[in-house]
């Protein structure tokens, strides 16, 4: 399945050229971090993109993310990844929690990993946060639930996709997702942006009211050979993104060397987001 070979090669070569698309997100991340951790020593930008490959794997079979919560919790006020993601995807930040939409967010450890929580867990772990987003499960319950095929698992790389043109807004997928990864557009985003006097990012469409949305591992950026915006934005390299099917991929390396957990593994959904705690 998927794209025909010849085309893909072309696209891939294009993608390498598309690298130039990096700076704005980086710049943004810098700004955010500056604001959040003013005076921080390591905020000067050298760390950006240090240990990772130049661009994400081209022909990934099974994309996955490893979140280094150990590093992440050292910067409890940093929201670079969240801000970057919500910015480039034009996710509105509604004031009322009822209307809330989030693709990536922080949640208390005990809520993020209720089954890993216990009374005597390390204090700093206990009070830390988990970084949550769509798990892109191997066996996604949301996909099974969707009555119109508006959400599906992309066979070539395992991204759980959303088609906002087809979604009817029944929210069955929200009920089916064990991770609370999905949000629903209770309001009209474009109208809200206009009310707030905000200008949306041009690269990515907004959604219409009444459809479900969630993290898609930045499929639109992957297609251009860019890292997911959160990965790119993280000033501390907490997020490692790669292909599980490639034994040489940094993701594999991390999983090999570090102890990782996943959210609610007992449900058999096989989440593709791993956490180093």
């Amino acid at each position: 399945m998927g794209i025909d070979r010849r085309k893909f090669v072309k696209v891939a070569s294009l993608a390498s050229l598309g690298l130039v698309a990096g700076p704005p997100v980086k710049a943004l991340a810098n700004e955010v971090v500056k604001e959040a951790e003013h005076g921080c020593e390591g905020c000067q930008g050298d760390y950006l993109g240090a240990p990772r490959a130049v661009h994400p794997p081209k022909e990934a079979k099974r994309l996955a993310m490893v979140v280094d919560l150990k590093t992440c919790r050292e910067h409890p006020d940093c929201t670079a990844c969240i801000d970057a993601c919500h910015l480039v995807h034009n996710v509105p930040d509604y004031p009322h929690p009822k209307d809330e939409i989030k693709w990536i967010w922080k949640e208390h450890f005990e809520h993020a990993f209720p089954e890993a929580n216990h009374q005597f867990i390390e204090e700093h772990v206990k009070h830390s946060s988990g970084l949550l987003f769509c798990n892109h499960c191997d066996n996604p319950p949301c996909v099974k639930a969707c009555p119109t095929g508006a959400t599906w698992k992309r066979e070539e790389d395992g991204v759980v996709m959303m088609d906002w043109h087809r979604c009817i807004g029944c929210r069955y997928c929200i009920a089916a997702c064990p991770y609370g990864s999905r949000s629903f557009n209770f309001r009209e985003p474009k109208k809200y942006f206009a009310e707030q006097g905000k200008k949306p990012q041009p690269d990515f469409p907004m959604r219409m009211r009444g459809v479900v949305e969630k993290c898609t591992f930045c499929d639109e950026r992957l297609a251009r050979g860019l890292w997911p915006s959160c990965v790119e934005a993280c000033p501390y390299n907490c997020l490692t993104f790669g292909d599980l099917d490639n034994p040489d991929d940094p993701v594999r390396e991390l999983l090999h060397h570090k102890f990782t957990i996943r959210r609610k593994p007992g449900l058999g959904t096989q989440p593709e987001v791993y956490y180093i705690v």
Partner: protein
């Protein structure tokens, strides 16, 4: 036949216009929702289904309950139900339509609702639910219309209707089973993920539906000249009794499993329903607690009234018992069932949900639509029956 709905007395037209008024208000509220989105409801990303879906779930049961009169009449040739079978089938029609309307108003993108059929997804329970519900509506329309037509003409119903009636019996069971699967198949919601959900749904349906039918028969007796007689009502009361017993039994099974095992994922939902639950900030959420206790008490009262034959035989008490059954189940299988499924949420947090005014008005309007259709259908039945039964004119 439908033309009979266009002629009626003062009482009939008053009822029609009151219902139209209720629907009208709801339509205005819906237009607001249509323009602004579901933000006007109390729903959120954590409690993403609420009042609408609660009504849907309950009403699927009401629809399915038609089988409780169809089955004895057609399969066991229980003649006493001859007069009420059509009434039962004609409850199923507005119930199905209300279910679909509730689904419709719950949609984020109602205009695209046909995507369910344009892009059929057999792996989705929602898809199957739509199919069986729609099928059941068509079945009941056809059966009701054809048998009523034949009865009016004074001839035997056509032969081809018999297999359709037979099909409708398992179909009725299927609509509620599939609706239960809609919930029971979700790994994300431990409260729903129980094998007894389908049987529980069926039991509650076979209690609530016939209870409603009894009430409607008694209303008809009081306000029109149409009397189904005592026998079928008593027979229905027995059905309600059995079904209610089984339903309560199954609920107790659920409670036992959760409480005795003590698995937080299971017991927390019950705690939320009956005692209230604290959220991450330590705020108590107990909005459903009084409702659930009301439901439980009503269930107990209804059981007492139904189980003692002397009480059951008194129609005055039977009315009360039926009301108790209906409302107990309406709470338990409606809001109790849906909201508790979402609370606490997958992150084990408690998010408050309370239906808003427009949401309630829309809900009321959908009930109004159902009541309107039911009124019209019953009016047709009564008018046609009047024509079949001997008329003795008196001042």
């Amino acid at each position: 036949m439908i033309e009979k709905a266009l002629e009626g007395g003062k009482k009939y037209w008053t009822l029609i216009f009151v219902l139209l008024g209720i629907i009208g208000i709801g339509v205005i509220a819906y237009l607001k929702q249509f323009n602004e989105g579901l933000t006007i409801t109390g729903l959120s990303r954590d409690v993403s289904w609420g009042l609408y879906i609660a009504q849907f779930t309950f009403l699927v049961g009401v629809a399915a309950s038609a089988v409780m009169v169809v089955l004895p009449y057609y399969l066991h040739n229980y003649k006493q139900f001859g007069k009420i079978t059509i009434l039962g089938e004609f409850i199923a029609i507005p119930a199905c339509i209300m279910c679909m309307t509730f689904i419709f108003v719950d949609m984020g993108q109602p205009l695209r609702i046909l995507n369910v059929f344009l892009h059929p997804s057999p792996h989705s329970m929602m898809f199957w639910d739509t199919v069986v519900l729609f099928g059941y509506l068509v079945l009941n329309l056809v059966i009701g219309w054809v048998t009523l037509g034949s009865e009016t003409k004074g001839i035997a119903p056509p032969k081809w209707i018999k297999p359709i009636i037979i099909i409708s019996i398992p179909w009725a069971v299927s609509i509620h089973t599939v609706t239960a699967f809609l919930y029971a198949g979700l790994a994300a919601r431990p409260f729903w993920m129980t094998a007894v959900l389908a049987p529980r749904f069926l039991a509650s349906a076979f209690a609530a539906g016939p209870a409603l039918l009894i009430l409607l028969c008694l209303i008809l007796r009081k306000h029109t000249k149409f009397d189904v007689g005592r026998e079928p009502i008593q027979k229905l009361a027995v059905i309600v009794t059995y079904a209610m017993c089984i339903n309560v039994f199954l609920i107790l099974m659920e409670v036992f499993t959760a409480v005795y095992s003590g698995i937080p994922e299971h017991i927390d939902h019950l705690k939320f329903l009956f005692c209230g639950l604290r959220d991450a900030e330590g705020v108590m959420h107990a909005s459903l607690v009084p409702w659930m206790w009301t439901s439980s008490i009503l269930a107990i009262i209804s059981l007492i009234l139904l189980l003692v034959p002397k009480f059951r035989a008194r129609e005055g008490l039977l009315v009360f018992a039926c009301l108790a059954v209906f409302f107990s189940l309406w709470i338990d299988k409606g809001m109790g069932m849906i909201i508790a499924g979402f609370t606490p949420n997958p992150m084990h947090n408690v998010i408050h949900y309370m239906p808003t005014l427009p949401e309630s008005l829309i809900t009321l309007a959908v009930w109004g639509i159902g009541a309107l259709i039911l009124t019209i259908l019953y009016k047709v039945v009564l008018s046609l029956r009047k024509q079949v039964e001997p008329t003795r004119y008196k001042d």
